[in-house]
Symmetry: C2
Subunit: 226 residues, 2 copies
DNA sequence: TTAAAATGATAGTAAAACTATTATAAAAAG
DNA sequence: CTTTTTATAATAGTTTTACTATCATTTTAA
């Protein structure tokens, strides 16, 4: 059985919906591979067009510029993670288990089921880590925010915050803790592989250690239940 | 009395030491103002040269490219924060007070004493928040790391981690918690001003609330003393 | 089967990100 | 105090990026 997984993203991100055509879908799938290979800074529409293959002009008919394309990819990523979280905590009773499940889903471990046929999920995960924060760390952030393009990220954080509130209704910083958890899961994964002295799991490079850190941080902040 | 505050930065960051000449110091001080005004992406050596005023070619004789210049600024920032931390925790006895002091220094509150005459410290703080992570979030990270350019950041994190260890010698993730604290202080400040739903202090925009969150997170993770 | 829309092929522009050259001015050395 | 070195100004030029425009052709939809 094939699970059909469709995510509708904010239409202000594109000029033509990439999900509606073969070329559009290739723009998405190939840009994920290319950005994760050469990095966002070195990525250009010209290089992408050569791979697809199509012309630069055609890519520009789908996306205004590469920043909008990046936001599209990252929005897709957050929507996908949120979907996985909803799916996996659905049948769980205790908020504690839900939080552990969330942390497990935020950290990649080579066991991520590939839902989509076209999308290279691991490549997308690397992009989310290395380039995700570049979507909002710009002078455009307020304009972009007005056009609602960060909604998928916010919805994920709000979902996580709601579970924190379930665990401890008294906790005052559920939203901040949620966004901190999400960002930290990415940054520490990056440090583990590239800047080992900034973390405590670079020797073994074991994602399970990262998860242990995140759990201790989150449950510590929320206050351990007795 | 004027406190002379000199920071020597890794010489692989520049072609000619900007700290040795008037034009070099203007490159630093004016680039801080310009980047914080128009953002790192819109910043060019040509625009900078027009302001100083000098020529584009002269700026290129100091820095290979704008990424190296950014790293220089961010290195300066971390070295400065580390200096402030050392200075301010020096006379404190309890690790708890030291941690509170560190958190206080990581969050800007308009009371930061301006040591330097030329450097706009608040502008530099904004650059550190909005662009600091761009220094390492690139495909160049491993090469840059080999040339030691992230040492100031690591030294700050190690200093903070050592205080965490002092507070709780049993704690296993002191380095990760230190880098998480530093990153989180910046990200949550950014969210407070630009993406309010990702935090819990956007209404009052009060840095003291952010500090309260950071303290609860750190002391929660380290385990509260009785 | 005709109109509309999407793509390919091609060309072109403006700005960014540099490199190079030579003249002059300032600083340092002898 | 003159010579040598070094730094800067002024200028020009190159390559790449980041687009925009045009028009013929192919594909899709009415």
């Amino acid at each position: 059985m094939q699970i059909e997984f469709k995510i509708k993203l904010n239409s202000s991100l594109f000029l033509r919906d990439p999900d509606g055509t073969d070329i559009g879908r290739k723009i998405i799938s190939e840009s994920i591979k290319l950005i994760s290979n050469i990095g966002y800074e070195q990525f250009t529409f010209k290089k992408l067009a050569a791979i697809i293959p199509t012309t630069e002009a055609t890519v520009y008919r789908y996306f205004e510029n590469k920043h909008k394309l990046l936001i599209y990819l990252i929005d897709y990523y957050w929507a996908f993670i949120r979907y996985q979280v909803l799916f996996n905590i659905n049948n769980l009773q205790s908020p504690k288990d839900k939080i552990k499940t969330i942390i497990d889903l935020l950290v990649w471990e080579d066991n991520a089921n590939s839902f989509s046929t076209e999308i290279d999920q691991k490549a997308l995960y690397y992009i989310a880590i290395a380039d995700g924060s570049k979507t909002f760390l710009s002078k455009e952030v307020d304009d972009l925010n007005k056009s609602q393009v960060f909604v998928p990220y916010k919805e994920l954080c709000e979902l996580i915050a709601s579970v924190f509130k379930e665990y401890n209704p008294e906790y005052q910083f559920a939203n901040s803790l949620a966004s901190t958890l999400v960002e930290t899961s990415h940054f520490q994964y990056f440090f583990m592989h590239h800047l080992p002295r900034l973390c405590d799991f670079a020797e073994k490079k074991d994602p399970k250690l990262l998860e242990a850190f995140l759990e201790s941080m989150v449950f510590g902040a929320l206050g351990n239940e007795l």
